[in-house]
């Protein structure tokens, strides 16, 4: 493989868009794909083999909720047989301990369990269903099984002040990794942004707390933290750079450079039903479009950081600047940074003494 294009390292396999949860910050696109279009067991198995042959090391099973696929155990077996490391990114529903045991026997390496908050009432408000108690049961079962466990907390204004309780939950579990990932504003989160963005004070407090926790828990739990990039000085190296490390396959088989890529108008995405994965990775228009530096505008084009952050996120550039090739407006050097500052300036919190009013959330629905 001497194309000069690096191998993809991870395959993000969106097995389905169906999900028992309705989280207000779901990273799925607003247009969800129907069950009738989902790739079959055989098609996914072929994709895993093609991914491994292209140099991919890890498969992240995600969705929607991967547990909604009745063939999930066969898919785990197929990915392991292809030589991939298999992570299951899950809400823990629908699951019983027998199925959990079978998944691990089939070769599941790592299970990432999401929590919407530390307390049940808020957790259920965020995901629009009574899921929290089941998650606690799953966490308890996991103590009896040999698999790597990550607890994932998606952080935003409504739950950021519960971060200490979230960490305590992780410490009481068998998790070796705890991820505190601030919401990134695409898709459903973009629609709910005014209720989700934390204040700068909230963010500063949580960062200080997590830095101390990281130090204290070294060797026990790996604590990882993702800040909301609206507050950052420089943009994130989104997906490790467009078409550099990751390839995402949607439930119906489209291969995308990132979760949100379909918001960018005019990009054509090839389907793994019609083309080999390697060919799509190397040659397709969508993967080539923002690979390398040719597409960059100033100030990115001559910026010293262009090989670190690749100009930030293309989808965010489109959502905020209306131009997918613009410098990510969250960058302090971006011509349109003032747009982000204006969004941040509008964040207001109800006085602490008042009972927080439940926002008018837009919950993610289920596809057909």
């Amino acid at each position: 493989m001497n194309s000069g294009i690096p191998n993809p390292l991870a395959l993000i396999a969106e097995l389905t868009h169906r999900c028992p949860l309705h989280c207000v910050y779901c990273s799925n696109p607003l247009e969800l794909q129907a069950r009738s279009n989902e790739l079959s067991t055989e098609e996914w198995s072929r994709v895993f083999q093609e991914a491994a042959n292209s140099g991919v090391l890890q498969a992240d099973f995600t969705g929607g909720e991967p547990l909604a696929r009745p063939d999930l155990i066969e898919l785990v077996r197929a990915a392991r047989a292809a030589g991939l490391y298999v992570s299951l990114i899950t809400s823990g529903l629908p699951l019983d301990e027998a199925r959990l045991g079978t998944l691990i026997e089939a070769g599941l390496d790592h299970l990432q369990l999401s929590f919407q908050a530390a307390r049940e009432e808020l957790a259920n408000e965020i995901c629009g269903t009574a899921a929290h108690a089941q998650k606690l049961r799953v966490l308890d079962w996991l103590k009896r099984h040999r698999v790597a466990v990550t607890l994932n907390f998606v952080i935003h204004r409504r739950n950021i002040d519960q971060i200490e309780e979230m960490l305590a939950l992780a410490e009481s579990s068998c998790a070796t990794r705890a991820e505190f990932a601030n919401v990134q504003y695409y898709g459903w989160a973009f629609a709910n942004r005014e209720h989700l963005l934390p204040t700068r004070e909230q963010l500063t407090r949580s960062v200080e707390f997590l830095k101390r926790a990281e130090e204290r828990l070294r060797g026990k739990i790996r604590v990882e933290f993702v800040v909301p990039d609206y507050y950052a000085k420089f943009p994130k190296a989104c997906m490790g750079g467009w078409g550099r490390k990751l390839i995402l396959v949607t439930p119906s088989g489209e291969a995308l450079p990132c979760h949100a890529a379909k918001v960018i108008p005019g990009l054509r995405f090839e389907n793994v039903r019609e083309h080999p994965l390697r060919e799509i990775w190397e040659n397709s228009e969508a993967f080539q479009k923002f690979r390398g530096e040719e597409w960059m505008q100033e100030p990115c084009k001559s910026c010293d950081r262009r090989e670190q952050d690749f100009g930030g996120c293309r989808c965010q550039a489109f959502l905020l600047a209306g131009d997918a090739a613009a410098t990510d407006p969250v960058c302090s050097l971006a011509p349109l940074r003032s747009k982000v500052d204006a969004i941040l300036a509008q964040i207001i919190l109800p006085p602490a003494a008042e009972t927080p009013v439940k926002p008018s959330w837009i919950h993610r629905p289920n596809p057909a």
């Binding site: 390292l9 090391l57 030589g83 040999r146 790597a148």
Partner: protein
């Protein structure tokens, strides 16, 4: 942390080497992959819960007999400590 010489290092749950046929050899773990070669691979292959830290040090000192034994020991303890901090290793006590 510095590992105890009489403890048995073992890869943590969800951490494993890829298959021998897959090159380069890589230590796979949640959200990470660590390429291994030469000594790092030889050390990780011995983290099987059956070798003590002391045994790993002694075997590696034999393989790398041209290097100063104290330096080999120091490097191995440092490397095992690093893998532990990344939550890739557990140490079983006899």
């Amino acid at each position: 942390m510095t590992p105890e010489l009489n403890s048995y290092p073992r890869l943590a749950p969800g951490c494993r080497l890829n298959e021998k046929a897959q090159q380069p050899r890589t230590l796979l773990m949640p959200e990470r992959a660590l390429r291994l070669n030469g000594p790092s691979l030889e050390i990780v292959e011995r983290c099987d819960g059956k070798h003590t830290v002391q045994q790993i040090v002694t075997e590696m000192q034999k393989i790398y007999s041209k290097a100063a034994p104290e330096k080999v020991a120091q490097d191995i303890l440092g490397y095992l400590g690093l893998l532990h901090d990344r939550r890739a290793l557990d140490f079983d006590i006899a």
